[in-house]
Symmetry: C2
Subunit: 387 residues, 2 copies
């Protein structure tokens, strides 16, 4: 089970290194994460760093062990600060453009672990303004409502209002704007054009937007009137925003935020990621047990064409989407996961059996999640920042 042993990057169907696109607004093709690390100039997370983290957290979260969080910026600096008793806060976010699926939950599950282990305050930015400006087909009312709906999914993961703030951009835009203009003054159109690939037909709201995503990375410093280190767990696709932010922060007298990057969760179909806009690629947090059964039933399998051939040659768990569901979210126990991996690989376990395990795990998880999601409605307001 190479992912676990070597902490190589999760490699689902990434052998084909032909064209892929990773920007904050588009992810397509088969992503080569090794290439992304080079392209973006981030740093691979290695065993030494994980050991250093474990000194503070105990055994690393499976997403760190298995390489779902595979890259970082300035994590050693952050730990230096932490070890000198300078506590950091966490900042992560969500772009509310469509229904939330399991791939969206993944980084929040990890962030919750970080929060618990480091007893860190967390700010979650929900960018309803961004999604409205970048997506011609969405009205502001839709993205704001989506943000409110997504907040329930996030709260359902067990966050508490005493150390977690949910910042929907349009609910907190006075504070955000009054700080964003300080960032914006330091960023030229040249920079934005180079980093995001914008052009003359880009709307001026989209051009300005990155200054809004920068603010939570120093918001706590503004509030406390002193520099507070910040760690941003985020999908590697959002790195361009924070690359720009990191350039600007020192010019405003703030620390550069540290970051830890996750891969994007593979979708149910061959290649590509879970995508809100493609229901057959994604399991939504509000899917019924029946829908989950049907989706996993049709998901891309690493099995052979016949039972006979499968028993003889074995299946391929690395490209099997049921296996990847267990790997990414639903089987935290490395030993059990390894048993499944090997049993499938040597042909003992059939695709139908692997699917049945995934269906059972996902449905049992979602049954609880959906119950918690309903309860979250009662406490939602306590999390929301409003100005």
């Amino acid at each position: 089970m190479k992912n676990i042993k070597s902490r190589e990057l999760v490699s689902y169907n990434m052998t084909d290194k032909t064209g892929f696109v990773v920007t904050p607004w588009e992810v397509s093709g088969k992503i080569d994460y090794n290439n992304l690390i080079k392209q973006f100039g981030t740093v691979r997370i290695n065993d030494v760093l994980i050991k250093r983290i474990e000194k503070h957290t105990g055994p690393a979260h499976f997403m760190l062990r298995r390489g779902m969080f595979f890259s970082h910026r300035d994590l050693n600096w952050l730990l230096d600060k932490y070890e000198k008793k300078e506590k950091f806060y966490l900042y992560t976010g969500r772009g509310p453009s469509g229904r939330m699926h399991l791939g969206h939950l993944m980084p929040f599950v990890f962030t919750k672990w970080l929060q618990d282990k480091f007893k860190a305050k967390l700010v979650i930015q929900m960018t309803d303004d961004e999604k409205f400006m970048f997506r011609q087909d969405l009205e502001l009312e839709q993205t704001t409502n989506q943000a409110l709906s997504d907040a329930l999914d996030i709260i359902a993961l067990g966050f508490k209002p005493k150390n977690t703030e949910i910042l929907i951009d349009t609910f907190y835009s006075k504070t955000l704007y009054n700080n964003a203009i300080r960032v914006a003054k330091k960023i030229t159109f040249s920079t934005i054009k180079a980093v995001f690939g914008f052009n003359n037909s880009t709307n001026i709201g989209s051009i300005f937007y990155t200054s809004f995503q920068a603010v939570p990375a120093f918001l706590e410093s503004v509030r406390q009137g002193k520099n507070v280190p910040c760690l941003i767990p985020h999908g590697i696709d959002q790195d361009p925003h924070f690359r720009v932010s990191r350039d600007v922060m020192p010019k405003l007298g703030y620390y550069k935020p540290a970051a830890i990057h996750n891969v994007l969760m593979p979708g149910l179909k061959e290649g590509g990621k879970m995508s809100s806009s493609d229901p057959s690629s994604a399991i939504y947090t509000t899917d019924s047990a029946k829908e989950v059964k049907k989706k996993i039933g049709s998901a891309f399998s690493g099995g052979r064409d016949t039972v006979k051939e499968h028993r003889e040659k074995g299946g391929n768990p690395d490209v099997d989407m049921s296996y990847q569901l267990l790997n990414f979210l639903f089987e935290p126990d490395d030993k059990k996961l390894k048993e499944i991996y090997e049993s499938y690989k040597n042909g003992d376990m059939l695709s139908g059996e692997l699917k049945a395990i995934a269906i059972e795990k996902v449905n049992s998880y979602l049954a609880n999640h959906q119950k918690e999601r309903v309860k979250a409605k009662k406490v939602l307001e306590k999390f929301l920042l409003r100005d």
Copy 2:
């Protein structure tokens, strides 16, 4: 006295039609207002239109009669609406980048007249964010403080909080931003580049900014939940902003705002306008009587080199800055102004005598203004919009 008789454009030293620049951020050279009308595509205010206004207001304000307000967009449409009992509101603004001078008061004096005559609600936007983003040398705290200081000068003109709102951008940025993003989504960088002459080195806050200046032009429609006509009295240099706004408003379902444009008040020196950054060109609202005396004493004069020559050939009131002070602000009585004009022109009145009249008028005006300005501190908060 050709300005009054023919309602020609105020022509102070505009015979030289060589290079001049008029943008919302730069005004330099000798402005050719006829040329600007063509360049910007606005409409000259003529006698027919003034008569139509006078049906509702009685005798036109001297700034309208004398051509200080010389150009417009959609004023006839606005009056059509008004005559069908669809009331309009007024929107004007101020960019708080430096000390306020008499040239800044001028449009507010006229706006007050419009407000009184049409019983219109008025929104005054003070763009502390703009000045911060466009001026490398200014901090946000400075422009916000300047806005608060300028608000006192505006209130001192006699505005009442019951029908006047002062909107300092950073005090009301939640409402502004949440509406500005709707505007911004409809404006491409191409448009902004063409209209404002921006380029790759422009900062992204400046690029976004025009969407903030657009919002007060439909704010009342947002609040009332129905379309409310809007008239914007403003310096012709701000026209590029509203040209863009007028394109976008119908796309959001709002009326295009109508506009009425003033020329920029001439400075005390030969050519050019009053400029905050050049103390010898401007009389500030807070100048002492002694400073005023000194400044007008040194102001550019249309007089001859010697008394003898002046008596023989007469002076030139059109280029005389003391005369222009009376023309622009301090001698509302056309008959009296005409007497001064002719007496100076035929050599009866000497430059010293003309300066003495201007000094007396300005100082008596400022004595009262400064008293009102102090009183304004007590009511300032009642005018301010905060969200």
